[in-house]
């Protein structure tokens, strides 16, 4: 069949062949432009991390490595970065623990109030960030708690928990129940089954959820802006300095985070591929 097709191609005029090729590859061309659109600002950010720009990083002034050699060169930037990482780590730990427990309860058991629980998990995701942030701030104000580090952590846990639940729940739902039955058949008790069979199988889902929680927390601006008071975080630093031009060091940190996260994701994929092969 394909041979016949190939044989007919030379007799078709060039224009028709071109339009045919175009029609067949239209979706690929479209996807190419889609990815270009996605990566233009990333490439721009990366390129301008090498800009010998001085204070405001608006115009290309020449190539330099000094921003990469001294990423803390801009005032406050590494304090902000440190705060973001600390908040991200603590919020990730708490939201992963709480969310995983909820995911097991909802994903594993039929109980009264299950659909209400699902709704309670869905609601924070359906609430605009600004409402979450504003409402938490007004609660803190009522109890005369000053906005700062811990209020920000609490706020981050609130919006991360739901995403953890959804991610872990999906993984639990895709488990083959026969594996656990097999463990029980081999005289493992409930706890052993959980520790040796269920938990290792769900672990990739939990890891993915933790990674998602950290990146959501690290990148959050709106909720943080409401609850952090005078504490700076990396997104806040960028927002505040955007008015007068952000220093190139911010581009360095943004690009470094990009490559670091990419490396983690690719490593994760390689590991999961490897375990699949050994299975």
């Amino acid at each position: 069949m394909t041979k016949v097709k190939d044989a007919t191609i030379p007799t078709i005029p060039v224009q028709a062949r071109l339009s045919r090729w175009f029609g067949r590859n239209l979706i690929r061309i479209y996807a190419f432009f889609g990815f270009t659109y996605l990566f233009i600002p990333v490439a721009y950010t990366f390129a301008f991390s090498f800009n010998d720009s001085g204070k405001s990083n608006l115009i290309w002034k020449g190539f330099t490595l000094k921003n990469w050699q001294n990423p803390c060169g801009a005032p406050e930037i590494c304090t902000a970065l440190g705060n973001s990482i600390k908040i991200g780590l603590i919020a990730t730990i708490f939201s992963t623990i709480l969310g995983t427990m909820i995911a097991f309860a909802i994903g594993r058991y039929a109980f009264k109030g299950r659909s209400t629980s699902n709704l309670l998990i869905f609601l924070p995701m359906a609430t605009p960030e600004i409402v979450l942030g504003a409402s938490l701030l007004s609660l803190f104000l009522v109890f005369q708690i000053n906005p700062g580090f811990w209020p920000t952590v609490i706020a981050h846990v609130v919006f991360c928990v739901s995403f953890v639940v959804v991610t872990v729940k999906a993984r639990i739902a895709s488990l083959d129940p026969r594996l656990e039955q097999a463990a029980m058949d081999l005289y493992a008790n409930e706890f052993q089954t959980f520790r040796r069979v269920t938990l290792p199988l769900v672990a990739p889902g939990i890891a993915a959820a933790a990674l998602l929680a950290f990146s959501l927390s690290f990148d959050d601006f709106i909720i943080t802006n409401f609850n952090s008071g005078t504490l700076t975080t990396f997104p806040k630093f960028v927002y505040v300095s955007a008015a007068r031009g952000i220093p190139a060091q911010a581009n360095v940190i943004g690009s470094a985070m990009f490559f670091l996260a990419l490396a983690i994701v690719i490593a994760g994929q390689l590991i999961s591929k490897k375990t699949k092969v050994t299975k």
């Binding site: 996605l38 097991f104 609430t127 605009p128 600004i130 504003a134 601006f221 943004g254 994929q269």
Partner: protein, 291 residues
């Protein structure tokens, strides 16, 4: 005595409730309670002769009407911008997700990672990058000027257009991933079968692929629309005073004017409007499956 009874009662409670307890206690304290508190704040009025930022509880529901009338432009703009950004994102993301699901072959996983990858550069940095790319000294405006596509006085930044572009860009992965997830689940044989029954490409898409991918369309549009409607960062960085959204108003009421009741009333109106729209939309789209 009470403790003993409590521990007895606890041991009777089933495991799922114990697993739910800490998380739900947390969500109740820091999600439900704040929302209720916000509802309460929204009906307060300034204390006569008090300082700025001092309010008393008065159950003044007219706050809502005042806030709405005063800010109806920003309110409308929030929804129009969010709808535009959602439709644009759908138009960009659907073919993208389709290409990854059906045409990518062994590059599928890499392309998926590439969809999420821009996420890892801080979204504020990317928004600022758009401001500079579309700005006077960026690489878009000067060539467009030279070829006369845009006039000398036309700018791309500080416009509603830039705000919508920024939102479309920032929420694109939220649209692409659910679309991909539902497209990937489609059995390609259903499309072949449609072709065997003499449906052309367009008919196959309209009658088979699109209906089967509806759960992804619904999830993607919701995940894009909700954050877009509440966003104020894009409007603040890429917009001008005439493209302010409801989020900008809430933010400035809270921080600059210290007008908590109005901010609370606006937040509540925004949330209610989103919930109503979302419910109507889910009814219309006919999918009960959520997220």
């Amino acid at each position: 005595m009470i403790l003993m009874r409590m521990s007895k009662a606890l041991s009777k409670v089933k495991l799922p409730y114990l697993l739910l307890l800490p998380g739900f206690l947390f969500l109740f304290t820091f999600f439900i309670l704040p929302i209720l508190n916000l509802a309460q704040t929204s009906t307060q009025t300034p204390i006569a002769g008090g300082d700025t930022g001092e309010y008393e509880q008065t159950l003044r529901f007219a706050n809502y009407i005042d806030a709405f009338i005063e800010n109806r432009e920003q309110f409308a703009r929030s929804f129009i911008f969010a709808i535009c950004a959602t439709l644009l994102a759908l138009a960009i993301a659907y073919p993208l997700a389709y290409a990854i699901a059906f045409k990518a072959g062994r590059f599928k996983n890499i392309l998926l990672v590439l969809i999420i990858a821009p996420f890892f550069t801080s979204f504020l940095l990317r928004t600022v990058a758009w401001k500079q790319i579309l700005g006077e000294e960026g690489f878009v405006v000067p060539p467009l000027r030279t070829f006369g596509i845009i006039g000398e006085s036309t700018t791309l930044t500080s416009t509603s257009f830039a705000v919508v572009i920024g939102m479309t860009y920032n929420f694109l992965p939220f649209m692409t991933l659910p679309l991909y997830a539902s497209l990937e689940r489609i059995d390609p044989r259903t499309m072949e079968a449609s072709g065997d029954l003499y449906a052309n490409g367009i008919t196959t898409f309209r009658r088979v692929t699109l209906p089967l991918s509806m759960p992804g369309v619904v999830a993607g549009t919701l995940l894009t629309f909700i954050p877009a409607a509440g966003d104020y960062v894009n409007a603040a960085i890429l917009g001008n005073p005439n493209s302010k959204m409801l989020g900008n108003v809430i933010e400035s009421r809270f921080f600059k004017i210290v007008d908590y009741p109005t901010a609370a009333a606006l937040s509540f109106t925004l949330m209610a409007a989103i919930l109503i729209l979302v419910t109507l939309y889910i009814r219309k789209a006919g999918t009960e499956e959520l997220v």
